[in-house]
Symmetry: C2
Subunit: 208 residues, 2 copies
């Protein structure tokens, strides 16, 4: 329980607060209070608010994109043939939804944070994504392109971005209001994951 350091408690609480009320509404006072420490501790450990947010994002994003890269590496290793489309989509989508479903490590909170960062056009996230993760995104777009040679390059680009939009939408738990009551969280996420992949797969099918 309270074996966590103050620094870790602050990071975890920051995830929790931002997932609940968003970036621009979050205050260091509510964070320090909920993390059972002092207001000044935030500035002591992280310098300022901006750096706290950056560290909170980087802690999880590296993990998420590494999972995606590993899955794509496995698919592309040992063959120069185009990958199976469904497997590529799964390699991109499942790490996000797995994190969403991971309660123990706080990943489920982070995916909501990520959705909010997308939505609020967070400068921190935008810079991180364009500087540190754009290569991975391009790799996936290329893999999809190779798996769907019948689709125009621009069309693949658009639909991949639409799917990212749907993914963010789901991560933010917008469907929650219409969730069937008798489903556990695990069941819900499993269905959601399956439906989203089929949705993505279907959206890359050839149109007449």
């Amino acid at each position: 329980m309270s074996v966590l350091s103050t620094k870790e408690r602050i990071l975890n609480t920051t995830e929790k607060i931002i997932s609940e009320i968003g970036f621009s509404s979050m205050s260091l006072r509510t964070i320090s209070t909920q993390a059972k420490t002092n207001l000044a501790a935030v500035n002591y450990h992280f310098g300022n608010k901006e750096k706290l947010i950056e560290m909170m994002l980087e802690r999880r994003l590296d993990n998420l994109f590494q999972l995606r890269i590993n899955l794509l590496d496995n698919l592309e290793s040992g063959s120069s043939q185009p990958c199976n489309l469904k497997q590529v989509l799964e390699a991109f989508i499942t790490p996000a939804l797995t994190m969403s479903n991971d309660k123990h490590q706080g990943g489920s909170l982070f995916m909501k944070v990520l959705a909010r960062a997308y939505a609020e056009k967070s400068e921190y996230l935008h810079d991180l994504l364009s500087k540190r993760y754009s290569d991975t995104i391009k790799r996936f777009a290329l893999a999809i392109q190779r798996a769907c040679p019948y689709l125009d390059e621009q069309v693949v680009f658009w639909r991949f971005h639409f799917i990212m939009g749907a993914l963010v939408y789901v991560m933010a738990d917008f469907g929650a209001s219409s969730r069937t009551n008798n489903l556990s969280d695990t069941e819900y996420f499993n269905i959601c994951c399956n439906e989203l992949i089929n949705f993505a797969l279907s959206s890359f099918s050839q149109t007449s």
Copy 2:
């Protein structure tokens, strides 16, 4: 130009500010300044900040959903047969993108506001959508269901929500960073609209 009343100038400026910096970062002082009026005028005309936001949202949402309803009414009138899927999707999507592309009436700003409202889980919007517009959304889901009898009801439900996510994502202009430079705004939105409808259409195609 300045034939607009103070009330209208405040509403328009609120749209503009929120589309730029979001709900939680917006302040009544920046709004009153930019609307070329006094700070107290906001509270005088709208009571408080919350009611200002509600009025700003309601002013446009009624218009948007009425456009959708009109299009769907036309499709369903005169025949008890299921509607054409593409036409149903167009009836839902095009009003949003038309508003996005409408500069004269300020609709383009509002669609960004709407995207932010979705993203920030605005209570105002959530209540409005679930109380005032849920019937329309259910009508569209049903029309899609009838047009795709080969798909399970739950699958239709999921994919319709995924598409709403993609629509919000597009409205928020997230693809902007990757926009081709030599496209005008009008051209960009026409392409975007077309791609999104084909995307939605494709996503409801039967999967193997």
